[in-house]
Point group: C2
Chain length 206, copies 2
DNA sequence: GTCTATAATTTGATAGAC
DNA sequence: GTCTATCAAATTATAGAC
C-alpha cells in the first residue's frame, strides 16, 4: 500500500485536503473532485495517487493516528509527570477544536462507523485502542495502587468525554462548552489539580 | 411544514426508516431510494410526503428530540428522586446502543454538523440545548447549594460523555465499553450511588 | 504525473398518468 | 397517494494521450 515510507508533495497535499474535508463533513461528505479542486489538480490525478476512496480514507486515518500518537509522546517518559501528560492530552483535543476548527477523525468516523469500508473502520478502531492504551499507562502511573481495570475505565471515560465535548461544542457553536468540560475533566481525572487556574503541582497531598 | 399534528402511517414508516438509516450511516449515508426500498414504495412517493431531503432530515430530528424528551419526563417531578432521573437518563442512552444498536442522532449529526442543511443543524442544536437544560435542572435538585454554572457544566459533561461512550463502544464493537463508562458516570455524578449493584438510596449520607 | 474524455452508477428531484 | 418515466447533476473510477 502507498505511503509506507515517504509521501510526495502532491500526496501530502491530497492527504491534507482529504483530512480537512473528512473532519468537517465526514467520509461521505467529500468527493475526489472536491479534493482535486482543493489541491489544484484534476480528479483523475487524485486517483493516480490513491486508486480508490477507500485507499484515501485509510491513509488519511492512518497518518492522523500516527501524528496524534507522536505528539502525545511516550506515556512512560519519566521526565513527564503523569498529570502533565493528561493535561497535554486534553489540550491536544482542544487544539483540534480551537486551532483546526474541525472534529477529531476518531469522533466523526467513529460516529458513522457502520458506513465505512472495512479498512477504514479498522484504522478507526485502532486509534481507539492506541489511545486507551496510552491513557491507561498514564493513569497507572498516576495511581499505581488501583486495579488495571479501573485505569482502563478511566481511560475510556476521558477519551469518550473529549470526543463528546468536541461534538457538543461544535453543535452549540460555542468553544467554551469544550473548555468547561475540559476543566471539569482535569479536576475529576487528576486529583492533584484544583479547578482554579493553578497549574502548579502540590507536593504529594491526598 | 408537514407533521405538525398527525403523521399518516406511511409518513411514520418513512420517518422510522430514515431515522434508522441516519443513525447508522449519517445524513449523507442514505438516499430517497434506500428509504423507498425499506418502506416498500417508490422514491417519488417519498418525495410526495417529504419534498426534499432537508425536510425529511429536519422532521426525523424533530420527532427524535420530542420522543426522547417525552421519555425523560419532567425533571422537576417531585416523585422522582434526582439521582433516579440521572439513572434513567443514562439508561436511555444505553438502550440506544443495546436495543436499537444505533447511534444517538445528536451524536452522529453533531459530528457532521458542518455538512448539514441549516434547518437540520438547528434541530440538532436544539436537542443539545434541551438536554443540557433538563440535566441542569436535575443537578440543581441533586445539589441545591452549588452554583448554577456548576450544574450546567455537569450537565455538559454527562451529555458529552454519553455521546462519546456510544462512539467508543461502537468503534470497538464492544457494548461493555459503554457500560463501564456508564457505571463510572453514575459513580461520579451521583454521590448517593455506589459503583456496586445497589440501586437503593441511602437516607442522606455525605 | 497530470491531463482530457468518458463510462457506469447513483443522487435529489419533478412531470404527469392513474 | 402511488406509480412510471425521466432529468440534470454528481459520483467513483478507468483508458489513453502528452
Amino acid at each position: 500500500m502507498a505511503l509506507q515510507y515517504s509521501p510526495t508533495v502532491t500526496q501530502t497535499r491530497i492527504l491534507d485536503a482529504a483530512e480537512a474535508r473528512i473532519r468537517r463533513y465526514g467520509y461521505h461528505g467529500f468527493s475526489f473532485r472536491d479534493i482535486a479542486t482543493d489541491v489544484g489538480i484534476r480528479s483523475a490525478s487524485v486517483h493516480y495517487h490513491f486508486p480508490t476512496k477507500e485507499d484515501l480514507g485509510t491513509q488519511v486515518m492512518r497518518r492522523y493516528s500516527a501524528r496524534f500518537l507522536h505528539r502525545l509522546g511516550d506515556p512512560k517518559e519519566a521526565a513527564q509527570a503523569p498529570h502533565n501528560l493528561l493535561k497535554r492530552y486534553i489540550e491536544g483535543f482542544q487544539k483540534l477544536l480551537v486551532e483546526d476548527k474541525m472534529m477529531c477523525l476518531y469522533g466523526i468516523l467513529g460516529a458513522e462507523i457502520c458506513a465505512l469500508p472495512a479498512p477504514v473502520r479498522d484504522e478507526v478502531k485502532r486509534f481507539g485502542e492506541d489511545h486507551i492504551k496510552w491513557l491507561k499507562t498514564v493513569y497507572r502511573r498516576l495511581n499505581p495502587g488501583q486495579k488495571k481495570k479501573t485505569s482502563k475505565t478511566k481511560a475510556l471515560c476521558l477519551l469518550a468525554s473529549l470526543e463528546g465535548a468536541l461534538i457538543a461544542a461544535r453543535a452549540a457553536e460555542d468553544t467554551k462548552y469544550f473548555e468547561r468540560i475540559a476543566s471539569e475533566l482535569m479536576r475529576t481525572h487528576s486529583p492533584l489539580y484544583t479547578n482554579k487556574k493553578n497549574n502548579k503541582v502540590p507536593s504529594a497531598s491526598r
